[in-house]
């Protein structure tokens, strides 16, 4: 051929040019001209930098994170073959059993000794829906009484599928939308925000607790994310609705309630007072609560009308109310509304177990750590409750005051994280799984400005890995060491974090004392975690202290989480520009 003939056809698509694709991941490096990904996750999405559109990338991301979730779900779950009570899996299955088999009014009363329903009504409705669908496949899974402690392998697949589907319907869309809005707000490039999205969705703690250990936390976390995401879009009413849904699914969402309140109130007061918005938010919140309770109320009234007792096991007069016993003096126990009052009080009583102790198991929060030094049991519970209340308030007031007076969108994840850390560290009745609540908004920081730069990545990574590590005692009780190790190490590897890499701490150029400080503090904790794993694996604790390893875990965890709280609070103060004199405000780059 004399001259190269023109190609008979062109490539289907011209590569699109997206502006500074890798700004926050690479631009911080004063490195060579050739850009290189600074951590493996960025390397995986490297080929998609210029050419692939978001809509090509998103389905792939969702498939991969789904695969890891499902594969992790092949492992055992909480309470597997652990009679007599089994575990969280049995609790959730049991709720599907009672909600589908019993009249509504009995849901909160039925055999409370066997995993009585102690979550708000939306969980009950969700269980009902899952139970109905499951009964279509195999009615024996949710048969009353006989199905207790069922370990049917097909049932396990069904239950795993309900978690996955619930998450893909609520949490994942919420996170995808949040990441889009938040990264646009912080002027982060699309490709970078996709990296952040994968990092957030591969967060090991949520996968381990929901898809392996078994629970539906992502539904609640998804509603909270949707609420935050609505705040970013100035949709205050939707924000209120989503938050009520979160509260209605899991009372744990109260950890965020102050921040939601502070932000919504703040946005009605600043920069100018907006009464109609405030009234609108108040009205829609009340209406959402009403709708949330409506099925329960209607069901109870229907049952009363059809002569179904909420407690068929009891004869004789109405037993006293579990809470607010004084109320009975003012109410007619035979009136038509009394069963309703009883139902609501019982629900509140079940959802908020004030009667339990300060902390249940070994949790890496302040009280449990303090208990190692000072035996808290000797103090009256009244005093402890008051102390917990005061300490919690002291820890959450500063972030929420900032949010109230500076209701800025880019502060939301930090304020939510700080408040949730405050609750986790100092409040009453904390469970180790509650660490998911502060971790969620903190992990969302990855989608913000400089979110994938070294310092934020180092701290978010530190909090997540420490969080998983404090849940190790919980996981290893049901032989989940392997998924724990795989998912945690994989995430650390993807984000270039210890123990797989030190790249999040080291940098070329003159050393900065702040970075060295972070490096030494984190280094100490990572070493301690590693050493602890070695000790726990190879040494039996002394017989007089059987809980030694767990106690050490709790102590280290509480210290690390306190640092996370302080970091979040410090960043919040910095970001809110409270400390900057007004003139320099403009000069500060995003």
């Amino acid at each position: 051929m004399a001259a190269p003939s023109p190609s008979p056809h062109k490539p289907r698509r011209k590569a699109k040019r997206v502006g500074n694709g890798a700004s926050s991941i690479t631009s911080t490096e004063p490195g060579p001209l050739v850009r290189t990904p600074s951590f493996p996750l960025a390397a995986f999405l490297w080929p998609a930098r210029g050419s692939a559109s978001e809509w090509e990338l998103l389905p792939l991301i969702l498939m991969v994170v789904g695969l890891f979730r499902w594969a992790a779900g092949l492992w055992s779950y909480s309470g597997f073959e652990k009679p007599p009570m089994f575990g969280d899996y049995e609790a959730q299955r049991h709720w599907m059993e009672i909600t589908t088999q019993l009249p509504v009014s009995q849901w909160y009363f039925h055999d409370l000794q066997w995993w009585g329903l102690d979550y708000p009504p939306l969980t009950a409705y969700h269980s009902w829906l899952c139970g109905k669908i499951g009964s279509l496949i195999d009615p024996s899974w949710f048969a009353l009484y006989t199905s207790r402690g069922s370990h049917d392998p097909t049932l396990k697949i069904f239950m795993r599928a309900t978690v996955l589907v619930s998450e893909y319907l609520i949490y994942i869309p919420a996170v995808v939308v949040f990441v889009r809005r938040f990264s646009r707000l912080s002027s982060v490039a699309t490709w970078t925000s996709s990296v952040a999205l994968v990092a957030i969705l591969m967060q090991p703690a949520t996968i381990l607790i929901d898809h392996v250990h078994f629970q539906y936390n992502t539904v609640m976390l998804g509603f909270v994310t949707a609420s935050m995401s609505s705040m970013l879009a100035d949709r205050y009413l939707w924000s209120a609705i989503f938050f009520v849904a979160a509260l209605g699914f899991k009372q744990m969402a109260l950890y965020y309630a102050f921040s939601v309140f502070a932000y919504l109130l703040g946005s009605c007061l600043f920069p100018r007072i907006n009464i109609s918005r405030l009234l609108g938010i108040a009205a829609i919140t009340a209406a959402s609560f009403a709708i949330l309770l409506l099925p329960l109320v209607a069901g109870t009234l229907y049952d009363v009308k059809s002569g179904i007792d909420s407690r068929p096991d009891l004869d004789g007069p109405h037993p006293p109310l579990p809470l607010f016993q004084d109320l009975a003096a003012y109410l007619d126990t035979n009136a038509f509304y009394y069963p309703l009052v009883e139902q609501m009080v019982q629900m509140v009583h079940r959802v908020f177990p004030f009667a339990r102790g300060l902390f249940e198991d070994k949790v890496a929060n302040f009280w449990c750590a303090l208990n190692v030094v000072v035996k808290l049991k000797k103090y009256p519970s009244e005093l402890l409750q008051r102390g917990a209340l005061l300490a919690t308030l002291a820890s959450i007031i500063p972030p929420n005051l900032i949010l109230l007076f500076r209701p800025r969108k880019h502060l939301l994840p930090l304020a939510f994280a700080t408040t949730a850390w405050g609750f986790f560290l100092f409040s009453y009745q904390v469970h180790e799984k509650s660490v998911l609540l502060p971790l969620m908004p903190m992990t969302l920081l990855l989608a913000g400005s400089q979110g994938l730069a070294k310092s934020t990545r180092a701290w978010v990574g530190f909090a997540n890995i420490l969080g998983c590590w404090t849940m190790f005692p919980l996981l290893q009780r049901v032989d989940l060491r392997v998924p724990y190790a795989v998912l945690t190490l994989l995430w650390a590897y993807l984000l270039g974090l210890p123990p797989t890499s030190l790249s999040a701490y080291l940098r070329e150029g003159p050393p900065v004392w702040k970075e060295w400080l972070t490096f030494f503090i984190h280094g100490f904790f990572y070493l301690a975690m590693g050493l602890w794993h070695v000790l726990e694996a190879f040494l039996k604790p002394p017989p007089e202290k059987p809980d030694l390893w767990v106690v050490i875990n709790v102590g280290i965890g509480a210290a690390g989480f306190s640092l996370c709280y302080l970091w979040c609070l410090g960043s919040l103060i910095l970001e809110s520009e409270l400390l900057l004199p007004p003139r320099t405000k403009k000069a500060k780059t995003q």
Binding site: P8, P40, F44, P47, F68, L74, P153, L487, L490
Partner: protein
Amino acid sequence: MAEIYPSLAQCAIVAAGLKILLFPAYKSTDFEVHRNWLAITHSLPLWEWYYEKTSEWTLDYPPFFAYFEWIMSQVANLVDPAMLRVFNLEYDSWETVYFQRFTVIITELLLVHALQMFVDSSRGASKRAAQAAAISILLSPGLLIIDHIHFQYNGCMYGILIGSMVLARNRSTLLLSGLTFAALLCMKHIYLYLAPAYFVFLLRAYCLSPKSIFRIQFLNCLKLGGGIAAIFGTAFGPFALKGQIPQIMSRLFPFSRGLCHAYWAPNVWAMYSFVDRVLIVLAPRIGLPVKADALQSVTRGLVGNTAFAVLPDITPRICFALTLIFQTIPLVKLFIQPTWDTFVGAVTLCGYASFLFGWHVHEKAILLVIIPFSLIALKDRRHLSAFRPLAVAGHVSLFPLLFTPAEFPIKTVYTIFWLVLFLMAFDHLAPASSRARFFLFDRFSTLYITVSIPLIVYCSLVHGIVFGKSYEFLPLMFTSSYSAIGVVGSWVGFMVVYFTS
């Protein structure tokens, strides 16, 4: 040239994470087969390996694989000695599962290394394409389904094969390539199907002078012949001394098995059976005789021995002849034009011929076609358009291997992920060909890929809901007939590309 991201090592690490998470997944009888071989090689003297038959899963791989099992059994002994007892049938303690699954991941490092060799051997602009192809092999759903869930050591074996093919790229390592392939044959004899391409290539490129086919390079012949003899001697020698070769051969080549394997591999015989099945209905109308005895078995298609009701029966001799004919055709071109690209094409076509016309072909053998083809699929768009239907058909045809509900999302989502990702990436990377593409072929492959979606939905969901447990052969038959069309179509397409480029 700057490093290309993501690197193979990075992909291998993340894939290993997923594979470890898959430890508790379904495992087929192949898991017990390999446990039994660990036990045989560890607890019996060499002379009894090929005679031991306590388990029905007797040792039927060549001696190098048995040695490989013996090496692994030394470690297994430290993990859980109970798995090494021949009488401990179906033993699967968690230590055994972890150990065996882990050996698959570890030995797969050979594949990673070979793929890295392949990327390093590519130059210039094609390096990015080579990297993409290498990652596609490493992350192949075929290997994930067959090795890491269903259980086998294909990753390691194909690593050796790719290594040997890459060595053939450079004149100075031709000898090593041939010897590596000989060693591979002594590990798993299925690669005999590819041997003709190696034979012709080495003969032309190594044993004969590049200038003239009439000048024989005697020294090279001696080196190659001596090397191969030494390798086969190491493998079979000890057994030959005891006169056990006939026994080994009867284990390696069990001709008593049927034409089609338990499931239908998507080859010509699957289409043949499908036509036969249709003719059973049509035959009375067009006046063809129907053999009554063949109608008896309702489960035909599920059992090994397929008897045809209308069409003539197929003998191993016919299969053998057809395979040889269709292998020889591409080899002629290889002999005339012994370049590396033609060699890989010839290996691929040998794989195709044996898969399509072979006797008792297992659907897993599709990797014999997909993996060599992947190495040249990105050469240009014409190669890619022949590769596309193969990628879809080959992987969909593996779905029946996993039938448990827990693994259903994994096999489907992973395969769809792989197809979307790599077909999209390949589309960006494959350079335009200097020749016109065949218009219709591209349309065929688009249509073909689209049909796979309703097919998967029907086979995995609709059929179960409509028919329940009855007519179980229907989804299998549809899957394999559909896949057979894809494999045959891509074979025809690739033949054209091979002979015209």
